[in-house]
Structures are given as structure tokens and as C-alpha cells.
Amino acid sequence: MTRRACLVVLGATLGWLPLRVLSAPEDPGKSVLGEVTVTVYYATDGDPAAAGPKATVVGKALEKRLRNEEKLRFKHYRLLGDDTQPLFRSYENWAQPLKPSDEVLVKFEARSRPTKEATHLDLELWLSRKKILKTDVLLQGDHPLLVLGPEWRGGRLIIAVSLAADKKPR
């Protein structure tokens, strides 16, 4: 075999390996079934400025929605942060709505195969790096989970878990 032929064979082999790696079948457990959004609101009957200057006022419709429920009724609501993360077929995932702070974390995992109507999740709410709540919940379209959480600066945090608006389960 000539030297040129050896180089051709070597080049083809080195070129084939990366292609082989790139085209390897993906882990089916990582296929994305949808997206989950976790949002943290600050609700207070006091001065909403306590949430900080960057906290934004929520929309009127949401304010009305929250105020309709007696347990969630406050004078003011402010958005503190949110995070949208993919829902994997087999793996758990975490949402960190107040990042870089890990004061509020939500771990979620598909409990069953989502349908267009509903997504059944296993959820864990972690506060201050401690698991505070473990639950399963059925999220339906515009039917979120609202958790009235810990006190903070004279008000309380409301943690909302919902399906991402533009990412329906598939």
C-alpha cells in the first residue's frame, strides 16, 4: 500500500468516527414531552415595594384570578421570577425560578404520558434547600397549581406551576 493510500484510509477513519458519534441514537428517556413553567409571585397587603424595584406588577387578569380565591387574596401581587424547563419522558428536571438564588426550587417528573388535555406530574417543592412539599398534580391547560408558600418581607410567596403556554404536551 502506498503512502498516499495509507493517508486516505487514515483520513476516512478519523472522519468516520465523529460522524458515528454524532449520529448515535439519542436516549429516548430524554425526549421532551412538554414544558413546565414555575413562577414565583410576591403577595402582600403591605407595601409592594418591599419586593424590590425590579419586581413587576402582574396583569389585571391574573390579579383578579388570584384575588378570587380567598386563601390567595392580597392587595398587591408582584412577579419575582420564573423559569421554564422541559419535561422529559423518563428523567426528572428542576426549575429554579429565582436564579441565581436556589431559595425556591421545584423538581418535577412526568408521572404518566401527557395528553393534550392534561399532564400528571410528580412535584417536589424545595425551600432553603429543604424538601418542604411532595405531591402529585394534574395540570390541565389553563388549570395550574398554586402553592401559598413561605412568608417574606411582610407578605407571602405564591409558587405557580403550570404548563408552558406555547408548549402543549405531545
Partner: protein, 200 residues
């Protein structure tokens, strides 16, 4: 006349095994035979020399050991006794499967007679209404923390109220939350769409 002695009688005479009338009759016939007398003397001398060389009885070393080995070898060569099959096994071989099958048929028949068609719900295909009606399972591993859940038609949501949770220190500031800064439309997740109705 045949004067040759029978072989067995001769052998016994040589061994001094003949007695009484047999000995008298034999010696009367062959007492003059010098050849026979010489053979008898030779036989006697040989027996005497053997008796002098070998003790009368020699016990083998470790006789119990040898006896045990011999008995074991005999046992191994003998055909093993087959365990007797109990008489009940014969009818069991036929009746147990038959009775099991009959039981299954009976159970199936009873199942068809009790109630209507059951509602099947699998994990892969959950009945959303049924799951929603059951409500979430709520668990609070932290000591002193309680959680109460309810379906809120007013908020169109499932609500969980946590009590007993440690307050987040006021010194913590979430103003630099990345989610808050990067998501301009961050309230979209809970904002009802235009055609959705929020209960009054």
C-alpha cells in the same frame, strides 16, 4: 483289577485326612506301595515346613477398616431401593390442574356477574377527570409543616396552602432574578388567554 486309588481318596490320605474304616481300607490296599508312602512323607514334610513358616492365624491390620470398606462396596453395588410413590400422587397429577382450571373458569364467571364493565385507567392513558377527582397526594416531610389542598373553582386552579414553613429571611433579595430580567412576557404562564373566562 484296578488297584489305582481314587484321586480324592488319595489326596485325603496324603493329607492325613482319612480316618476309621476308610483309612484301614486304603492302607490295606496300598500299604506296600513304596511310591505312595514316599509321597505321603513328602507331603507331611512340606506341611510341616509351611506350618513352621506361617503362624496358625494372622489377623489383618485394621480389620474394622477393611470390613467397613467391604460392606460399603457391597452396598454400592447393590441396586438402590426406589422410593415408593404414594398412591395420592397419581390422582393429584390429573386432578390438581383440572381443579385449578375449574377455579379459574369459576372466578371469571363470577367476575362477569359482579357489576358492570370496570373503568380502566392506566398510567399511560390516565382518565384526567378521575385523577382530578381524586386530587393530589400531599406529603410534607419537614417537621411542623402542614399542607392543605383544595380545588379552587374561583381561581381555576389546584391550591395548596403551606403552614408552618420557616419564613424566608428578609435580607434575601431576589431583584437580580435571571428569570425576571430575561423574560419580558413572564406572566404569560398564568395569564388567561383572551377567550378564557376568569370566574368573577
Amino acid at each position: 483289577m484296578n488297584t489305582k486309588p481314587a484321586e480324592t481318596t488319595l489326596a485325603r490320605w496324603l493329607d492325613d485326612d482319612l480316618e476309621g474304616t476308610e483309612l484301614a481300607a486304603f492302607e490295606a490296599s496300598h500299604a506296600a506301595d513304596a511310591t505312595l508312602l514316599a509321597r505321603r512323607e513328602e507331603s507331611r514334610a512340606w506341611r510341616a515346613s509351611v506350618a513352621a513358616a506361617i503362624p496358625a492365624a494372622i489377623e489383618p491390620a485394621y480389620p474394622e477398616f477393611f470390613n467397613h470398606r467391604i460392606a460399603k462396596s457391597i452396598r454400592e453395588r447393590m441396586p438402590k431401593a426406589q422410593p415408593r410413590r404414594r398412591a395420592a400422587a397419581a390422582w393429584r397429577a390429573w386432578w390438581m390442574p383440572a381443579s385449578a382450571a375449574a377455579g379459574m373458569v369459576l372466578a371469571f364467571w363470577l367476575g362477569t356477574k359482579t357489576g358492570g364493565t370496570p373503568q380502566m385507567m392506566t398510567l399511560a392513558n390516565p382518565d384526567a377527570a378521575q385523577v382530578a377527582a381524586q386530587g393530589p397526594t400531599v406529603y410534607t416531610p419537614e417537621h411542623g409543616v402542614d399542607a392543605e389542598w383544595f380545588a379552587s373553582p374561583d381561581a381555576a386552579a389546584t391550591v395548596i396552602v403551606l403552614e408552618g414553613v420557616d419564613a424566608i429571611p428578609d435580607t434575601l433579595d431576589f431583584s437580580d432574578s435571571v428569570g425576571l430580567l430575561s423574560t419580558a412576557n413572564s406572566t404569560a404562564a398564568l395569564e388567561p388567554s383572551d377567550d378564557a373566562e376568569v370566574p368573577e
